[in-house]
């Protein structure tokens, strides 16, 4: 067999038609991947960063403080850049962002339960339950009348207060806002600082727009990207500067411009 014949045979195989994978297979595999924990395999490709492994050995050897300065520095610089959830600091302990419930992220992704919004952030960055201020009045005997029903409220540990609310006001149902998961990661892209933000797709039937907001020190949130394509679930922000702290959040609106879902605030230090 001649070499040219073999090359021709290999060429015909390379150029042979290959079918596209079925959409069902593609979608199912993507779903499986999203549900899979991200764990570094011991059997990773041969090009696996040996320096990272060495750094882990250094860390496993004992506290960083017990190592030599050079070894500790090497270990710190070679450690993966994946932030630990507990590294998220709380600037205002009073602001707590609820954990997304509509779509649970993979367990490997740090789920921010408490984020560090800057002082100038309004505390209403996350949806909060609607509350009604009820003036405290003298205790009254709950006597329901036609068209009304008693609604107990909490006024104090030993002061049961009952107010009467018209039934018409309580029958209005407001759909719960959708909660999106958002994760932003800083890095270098072609030598330029870049932040990538990815979020979970909206499942709301009223979806019209995604809006990605950003703020840095002292400035209000401003929209950096928006899309009416439901499948657009990521954006590269190339307009960031190194050494700056940024805060991102994403929300969704309906056709009328009403916000029908939002995410927690994702802090990023660039880059």
């Amino acid at each position: 067999m001649r070499t040219s014949e073999l090359r021709e045979l290999l060429g015909s195989l390379e150029e042979s038609a290959a079918p596209e994978p079925s959409p069902v297979f593609v979608a199912k595999l993507e779903a499986d991947l999203r549900n899979m924990d991200q764990v570094e395999e011991a059997e990773a490709p041969r090009r696996t960063n040996t320096r990272t492994r060495r750094a882990r050995v250094l860390v496993a050897a004992g506290p960083v403080a017990a190592l030599t300065a050079a070894a500790a520095a090497a270990a710190m610089t070679l450690l993966p850049s994946k932030p630990h959830p507990r590294e998220l600091k709380t600037a205002d302990p009073g602001v707590t962002v609820p954990t997304p419930t509509s779509e649970a992220p993979p367990s490997s992704v740090p789920t921010p339960t408490t984020v560090a919004p800057p002082p100038w952030l309004p505390p209403a960055a996350a949806p909060s339950p609607v509350t009604t201020a009820v003036p405290r009045t003298a205790p009254t005997t709950p006597v329901p009348t036609p068209g009304e029903h008693p609604t107990p409220t909490t006024a104090g540990p030993h002061e049961p207060v009952t107010t009467t609310v018209p039934r018409a006001n309580t029958t209005t149902t407001v759909p719960a806002p959708e909660t999106l998961s958002l994760q932003c990661t800083a890095g270098m892209s072609a030598g330029n600082p870049t932040v990538f933000c990815g979020w979970s797709p909206s499942t709301s039937s009223s979806f019209k727009w995604y809006r990605l907001w950003r703020t840095s020190s002292g400035s209000p949130f401003a929209i950096v990207f928006q899309s009416d394509n439901r499948s657009t679930t990521g954006y590269y922000d190339h307009t960031v500067q190194a050494g700056t702290n940024y805060y991102y959040k994403v929300d969704i609106t309906d056709a009328a411009g009403n916000v029908i879902g939002t995410s927690s605030v994702s802090p990023v230090t660039c880059c």
Binding site: M1, L10, P19, P21, E30, L33, P80, K82, V109, T232
Partner: protein, 197 residues
């Protein structure tokens, strides 16, 4: 809907792959973008190498699962994410053939294809070409895995020499030598099989 049409808009905005791959080390959403970008190519690569939809799906799944698990240790080097991913796929393919060789699956599948009823007279030429390709696949699967990877990455995945070398973790010169030896071994394996028919 085609694969291209299902891609998010952000992919068509000229997003550079390096930043995307670096973000994908910790972001499932970034990895999903890469997945959608490459799933068709990995599947086609696995299909050409195996000639089977089932094997192509199995190898494609294993490739992306392994890639996702290994993403935290991913480092951008020559060839980038593409070479890294195809290297995983080539290794998965070689592993699949190693695991299934003892059961004679490859040979049995080839025999089934040849015995497949309903082949028209006009299809004889096409069947002949497919037979040659099946012979090539079978011979390829008997080579050492390193040789299989070299031929697969250069000839079937269509990677450039520098990218294929990066994928195999060697220099271009070493890849050229490996490829030369692999081609020689492949030719011998094909001749052996033709002689035994």
């Amino acid at each position: 809907m085609s694969l291209a049409a299902s891609l998010p808009v952000v992919v068509t905005d000229g997003v550079d792959e390096r930043g995307l791959a670096e973000a994908a080390r910790t972001s499932p959403d970034a990895f999903a973008v890469l997945y959608r970008r490459y799933v068709g190519r990995i599947y086609a690569f696995a299909f050409r190498r195996s000639g089977s939809r089932e094997v192509a799906e199995e190898v494609t799944s294993a490739t992306f699962e392994r890639a996702w698990r290994a993403m935290p240790s991913f480092e951008w080097r020559g060839g980038g994410f593409q070479a890294w991913l195809f290297a995983i796929a080539a290794r998965e393919l070689a592993g699949w053939y190693r695991r299934n060789a003892r059961h004679g699956n490859v040979r049995a599948q080839r025999a089934l294809r040849l015995l497949h009823p309903g082949v028209a007279e006009d299809d004889h030429e096409r069947v002949g070409a497919e037979d040659e390709q099946a012979l090539l696949r079978e011979a390829l699967s008997t080579l050492p895995e390193r040789y299989q990877e070299a031929i697969s990455l250069r000839r079937l995945a269509g990677l450039e020499p520098e990218d294929a070398a990066a994928a195999m973790g060697c220099t271009k010169a070493v890849l050229a030598v490996t490829l030369h030896r692999a081609t020689k071994a492949l030719r011998k394996a094909i001749e052996t099989r033709r002689g035994s028919r």
